[in-house]
């Protein structure tokens, strides 16, 4: 895996309710040198977002309590430039468009390749 020391230590809020996937993502992102905070639902994610400072957010859409679209909208209201990468199993074009229109910087569908996810994270952090 290729890591970029430039972004090492960047703080990522990982919002994913699937425990096994979140655990695998957390492991890989930590190995890449990112500081990962995991939220298993939209409500907890919003609380964490309001309490801490993050460099980017990886966001699932189908989340309990507060859905991913709504969460992205709330985050955008509070922080218009916060990078958001939507990572979801919803593959319909209308969902992708909705995600991007709300203000996601990127949209990746599950299943995904780890290398591709890491590359997209680097691109988002660079910009």
């Amino acid at each position: 895996m290729s890591s970029d020391s430039k972004f090492s230590g960047s703080k990522i809020l990982l919002v994913e309710d699937e425990e096994t996937l979140a655990s695998g993502l957390e492991y890989n992102l930590t190995e890449e040198g990112y500081a990962v905070t995991w939220a298993e639902n939209g409500k907890k994610a919003l609380e964490l977002f309001q309490a801490q400072v993050f460099d980017m957010i990886i966001l699932d859409i189908m989340l309990p309590y507060i859905g991913g679209f709504e969460l992205a909208r709330k985050i955008r209201e509070e922080s218009p430039h916060m990078p958001i990468l939507m990572l979801t199993a919803r593959t319909k074009v209308k969902d992708r468009v909705k995600g991007l229109e709300i203000g996601a910087d990127d949209y990746l569908t599950k299943p995904f390749h780890l290398e591709e996810l890491l590359a997209r994270i680097r691109v988002i952090l660079k910009s």
Partner: protein, 281 residues
Amino acid sequence: MSKGANIFTLVFGCVLFIAVSMGMSLIFRNLTVQYKLTKLYDDFLANVTHELRTPLASIQLHLETLKGRNVPLPKQKKFIEMMLKDANRLKRLIDSILEIAGLEQKKAVYQCKVFNADAVIKGLVEEARIQFKLPEETVHIEGHADCEFVINKDAFKILIDNLIDNAVKYTKNQLRIRVVLKCTRKKLIIEFADNGIGIAPKDLKKIFKKFHRISHPDVPNVKGTGLGLYWAKEIVKYHGGKIRAVSQANGAMFRIELPVYYVSKKHYLNRLLKSKKRMKF
């Protein structure tokens, strides 16, 4: 034109107009039904795809991690456990779709036995509580069903699991489940109530329809396929019983009625007890 001919033309015109209107309304109704069915089916496909993609993504991620990184041995074991968990989830989903198809096509043959209702239902509820990692105080069982019934225990496990899964998914606050058991001379009655979002009167019948799902702002993004309660209904029906949702002030309530062993109709018992074939799933 004579007066008679005029009346005839008028009557014929009216009849034609009524016939055309009725035809149009029939076509419109059929198209509406067709549209609703197509939408339900589209939603089902989207939901199933979501339920397939999620565990698959996790398996792929763990495999790529194992391939690309030097993962320490204890972590490797943990990854394998996670992949097995996801593989089981995929298997359960595929099995459920196949089993429902079997029930619909009357191809499913459950091997049934006579059981004590009280012991079986209480045992299955407790099993499900542990499986769903619910605290002991969440589930409260009342009553005593001192009668026997003829069931396939695996199918009834699915029934109870689906009801509890439904309660977990559609409850916003701290979950409370109340199960009441009783036997009358002819029937075993199981009442299953939760303190979730409840069911609107207009949805009481719809929720047992295939692919139908309730959307409620208090519990957004509920995952699932829309098959759980339909499957529950098919299982109860197979065992000669009935299930219905009852409107109540707080939460949902399901009432299941099943025939008691000794007074069940002969043909029903014969069908269940004499089936030599094993379950195909």
